[in-house]
Amino acid sequence: MATEILMPALSPTMEEGTLAKWLVKEGDRVKSGQIIAEIETDKATMEFEAVDEGIIGKLLVAEDTANVKVNTPIAVMVEEGESVSAASSSAVGGASVAPAPVAAAPVAVVAAAPVAAPVAVVSKASPDWAPGTPMKTMTVREALREAMAEEMRANPNVFLMGEEVGEYQGAYKISQGLLDEFGPKRVIDTPITEIGFTGIAVGAAWGGLNPIVEFMTFNFAMQAIDHIINSAAKTLYMSGGQMPCPIVFRGANGAAARVAAQHSQDFAAWYAAIPGLKLVMPYSASDAKGLLKQAIRDPNPVVFLENEILYGQSFEVPDLPDFTIPFGKARVWREGSDVTIVSFGIGMRYALEAADLLAKDGISAEVIDLRTLRPIDYDTVLASVQKTNRCVTVEEGFPVGSIGDHMASTIMQRAFDYLDAPVVTCTGKDVPMPYAANLEKLALVTTAEVVAAVKSVCYR
């Protein structure tokens, strides 16, 4: 039966091209794979091969014809004994033009459309433990260690790998004692090869294990970010739901002290931008414990950003055998009526200090710790802003594309009519971190800046 040869698409973007030259003439017998024409695209001149064998019955487009649309019939191929005229009529009559995929109808990209009219939002924030629960004091470091140890006891497929996690007992002593309890198969010292061991850990998660990858600091995870994003976060989607990746990437994030630009970056906004990841950034020891246990149990890749300066800080932690905190639930640290201060991670230190100082000036600040940045508990923030009508955000990261920027735009879209002042974002400065002590102090966000921002939105 006669078949049409169609103008091919020779690149992902090609819509038309020039049929530069025919290398066959009517009546020629061609073999599969034989070059029959040269076609010029916007990028290059390409050779075009016959797919099937047969005889060139008719050339429908002359050589040197420009702007030939993709899928236009350019020749008709016939079989032995078939006449050309019969061929062209049967080909034209019988040709089924391939249905082009139908362009997707526009769909709403944002789950909730911007709400112009005031809509009251109810906060989901609730206490993480029942009143009367016995408490114990521990550092963030101890809380993280307890969380890992408890989950490793509960699930034999949970293991820890990273630089110096075993015999050295952890560069920041987070994994102290774990090698002794769990042995070298479950507490694995890696060479200093972040992209390699991160890729291996992601593969192990696909293979049914639950790895915890410790980055000595998240600055080094930049070497491995391809596996965190392209391999871990996107594969469930690319596989149509077949390949979950239950893995935790954890370690110190943000500025420590006097370690300069390459060791002092807050990556919260980077990872918060990625669908498929979950992102946790705890401030207190109870959150560190409850959220890390939750992260290890989560079937998705979780980035867990810690802070070196907070490791040694002590907090009250509920003394419960199995304490977890769900993701997407902010914590209201302090109730207030004049302004909402939204922060997370070490930013909470400045937010809480500022709230104390502001109270002395008669300004009542509500302080909210987001705790998880993907998912984000928007409702708790919006409910608070609807009450206070003012908002200031606090974080240590760079200003452009910050979490504060995102929160400000969300508040503008969903609570515009409640605002009595623009949302002000307090961030680190738009500079690489300097080494000099005085300059470093200037580069970081400060309590004084938070106080000043609150006073500005309160017009005080």
Partner: protein
């Protein structure tokens, strides 16, 4: 035109040769059809065909047992067909339809089958290598004797993460076979223009990993080398490197003008080294199979491929609601 050398007599059974013939032919005909559908605009984006390299994956799949894993780069259609994934599901993914292995959300470069232990389909050159070692780590951790086949090309073989992985794989004795499909070209850059030391299998020596170079156009040589590598891994001796010398007949992708090599070079390989013709010769010259028998197989394969194309055209595009699914487990 150079004539094919007369085949040596093989002591391989007719059934085994026919199996290789059938499997390699399925990949070739499938890829030709994919190229055709690309030309018709039914397949979009990037589409990297495996034509010419079929013996590598068919020979190695013959060494596997249930539970073994495999993953590769974006030139992945052949690997999927060879491990038993359905032509319909692969072709429908190429056309971005609901019936595809990833429901149309992955495309040519990103397909997976948990059932067949096929772990992708990876678009970042070299990234699949530590991922493959990690899959092997999961078997090492569980203490079984499964093996992971980690395929990558000569282009990927210059990526740094391969050597980080070699180091850890040998250090921890992970059961992973690194299969370098050396087709001579990293996209359009020939090996001699990109690579100082061109014996890729030998690079494992720096990490204590054994390796060897294999004629990747000869499915029987591939099978023999694969058996050796698999035995090494299953015995707990750690990783093994197989450098398969092969050749891709088509461009890097569909939009490759192929100006970096001569038509003669391609023709010479097709005439002298073609992996399918090789097995065909063994069957016919050895008197093991008649032309009629082989023609019947050709016809059967053509029907499978045509049916897959029909399925891939008729399968509906994914529902618009699919945009928002499979982001979180």
């Amino acid at each position: 035109m150079a004539a094919r050398k007369a085949p040596e007599k093989s002591n391989v059974s007719k059934d085994e040769l026919l199996k290789y013939y059938r499997e390699m032919l399925l990949i070739r005909r499938f890829e030709e059809k994919a190229g055709q559908l690309y030309g018709m605009g039914l397949i979009g984006g990037f589409c990297h065909l495996y034509i010419g390299q079929e013996a590598v994956v068919v020979g190695l799949e013959a060494c596997t047992k249930p539970g073994d894993k495999r993953l590769t780069s974006y030139r992945d259609h052949g690997h999927m067909l060879a491990c038993g994934m359905s032509a319909n599901g692969v072709m429908a993914e190429l056309t971005g339809r609901e019936g595809g292995y990833s429901k149309g959300k992955g495309g040519s470069m990103h397909m997976f089958s948990k059932e067949k232990h096929f772990y992708g389909g990876h678009g970042i050159v070299g990234a699949q290598v530590p991922l493959g070692a990690g899959l092997a780590m999961s078997d090492w951790y569980k203490g079984n004797d499964n093996v992971t086949f980690t395929y990558f090309g000569d282009g990927a073989a210059n990526q740094g993460q391969i050597y980080e992985t070699y180091n850890m794989a040998e250090l921890w004795k992970l059961p992973v076979i690194f299969v370098i499909e050396n087709n001579g070209y990293a996209m359009g850059t020939s090996m001699k223009r990109s690579t100082k030391s061109t014996t890729f299998y030998g690079r494992g020596a720096a990490y204590g990993i054994e390796g060897e170079q294999v004629d990747g156009m000869d499915v029987l040589a591939v099978k023999a080398a694969g058996e050796k590598a698999v035995a090494h891994c299953r015995a707990g001796k750690g990783p093994y490197i197989l450098e398969m010398m092969t050749y891709r007949y088509r461009g890097h992708s569909m939009s490759d003008p192929a100006k970096y090599r001569t038509r003669e070079e391609v023709e010479k390989i097709k005439q002298e080294k073609d992996c399918i013709e090789h097995v065909r010769d063994l069957l016919t010259h050895g008197g093991l199979a008649s032309e009629e028998e082989l023609k019947a197989i050709d016809k059967e394969i053509k029907e499978i491929v045509n049916a897959s194309a029909e399925f891939a055209k008729e399968s509906p595009e994914p529902a618009l609601s699919e945009l928002w699914t499979d982001i979180y487990a």
